[in-house]
């Protein structure tokens, strides 16, 4: 009982916590105030509460596909925001002064969206135990431990990445954020398949014997790069297209930056 809570909450917390530690590193690099964290978390918890409270009517939307489409929309928004954030990091590296207020709200909205989805699930999980008082306490203790482990892992990531030299940090961050946004797109694709908006297919491969999705490493890779043991063709296609789009955008931004640089020199 206690252990289950640890695992469930760890899974939910991990994704948001990893993203937040990356954002913290980069807001330091981009000289942006870190107060988006508090605002994002508080507003995110509020909207998670609203989402959790209205899960039933939301599920009934659009002929019963409301939950899938809402989650997919949240995931796709995060993917797009990460794409924009990546271009901000590159602009900054090129020395261009881009609106810091926009980057600030971008980070805040990203945190709100991620916490809305993960937080509502946690709240519903805990709410289920209010029917059995003694278990609720155990579930709560387990949740605190799970959240603690999730936060610890993200703190480790924070210091690991934070100690990289600045020249390495930006490319590493861009790559990790690209992979996370690919994972978001892959999750959204899964929602569309579940709601039968995209067709379900036989898995393209099965790597579950090699690395199970429910193992600790599997969960960590799921949060970081959207690892799936048995993905379908569409999921793989959408995942890789999102990576290609991100790579294209990054290339264009870099290319134009260089063109402007050489123009200035002339």
């Amino acid at each position: 009982m206690l252990l289950n809570s640890v695992v469930i909450i760890l899974r939910e917390v991990l994704e948001a916590a990893l993203l937040i530690s990356l954002f913290l590193i980069f807001s330091h690099l981009l000289n942006i105030s870190r107060s988006w964290l508090i605002r994002g978390v508080v507003l995110g918890m509020c909207s998670a509460l609203i989402y959790a409270y209205h899960t039933e009517p939301i599920s009934q939307w659009l002929d019963g596909a409301g939950q899938e489409l809402t989650n997919a929309a949240l995931e796709l928004c995060v993917a797009v925001l990460l794409l924009v954030f990546n271009t901000r990091i590159i602009f900054h590296r090129q020395g261009a002064k881009k609106n810091p207020a926009l980057t600030y709200s971008l980070l805040m909205f990203c945190v709100i969206l991620v916490i809305t989805r993960e937080g509502s699930e946690m709240l519903l999980y805990l709410y289920g135990f209010t029917y059995v008082p003694r278990q609720f306490e155990l579930a709560l203790i387990g949740s605190v431990i799970g959240a603690g482990i999730g936060l610890s892992i993200s703190i480790i990531l924070y210091y690991l990445l934070g100690n990289l030299p600045t020249s390495l940090l930006a490319p590493t961050g861009v790559v990790i954020m690209t992979l996370i946004s690919g994972g978001m797109v892959s999750q959204a694709t899964k929602e569309f398949i579940q709601a039968d908006i995209l067709p379900s297919q036989q898995p393209l491969w099965d790597s579950s014997s090699w690395l199970a999705e429910d193992s600790v490493t599997g969960q960590l890779l799921y949060a970081l790069i959207g690892y799936e043991a048995t993905p379908g063709l569409i999921q793989v296609l959408f995942y890789s297209s999102s990576l290609i789009i991100m790579a294209l955008v990054v290339t264009v931004v870099l290319w134009r930056g260089n063109a402007t640089d050489s123009q200035k020199k002339c």
Binding site: E56, S59, G128, Q194, A195, L198
Partner: protein, 126 residues
């Protein structure tokens, strides 16, 4: 020369974006019309006292199934399966559905994430 370089990506980007948008929407439309035409079999699954009933769901191979899940408990449950790649919250005393299949013959375990000790089951594809 630099002016040309600078103006090129903008045009290219717009064109590429437009083509990509048309391509993606066409592909989605094709996929949606293809799935709408298929006749879908409906099967039911019940959650009661944090147990799945039936705990073993036998479905035919290579067939799409609409799985209606009733949660008869007051507490919420999350239907989840790594093998099926499915995850859906069903609030207490309500119902929801997910689509599964077409699947290859085999066993696909699923569980209720919120009551993982008791809420266990599997889809058997024959």
């Amino acid at each position: 020369m630099n002016l040309i370089i600078k103006s090129l990506p903008d045009d290219l980007l717009k064109k590429a974006f437009r083509t990509a948008l048309v391509g993606v929407s066409l592909a989605l439309l094709l996929l949606i019309t293809a799935t709408v035409n298929a006749e879908t079999q409906v099967m039911e699954l019940e959650i009661k006292n944090h147990l799945f009933n039936p705990a073993e769901l036998v479905i035919p191979a290579n067939t799409k199934i609409k799985l209606l899940i009733y949660n008869r408990d007051p507490s919420p449950e999350e239907f989840e399966s790594y093998e099926l790649n499915r995850e859906k919250i069903i609030i207490g005393n309500s119902k929801g559905f997910i689509f599964i299949g077409p699947l290859a013959p085999g066993e696909y375990p699923f569980f209720g994430e919120f009551h993982i000790q008791t809420a266990l089951g599997k889809v058997i594809v024959r």
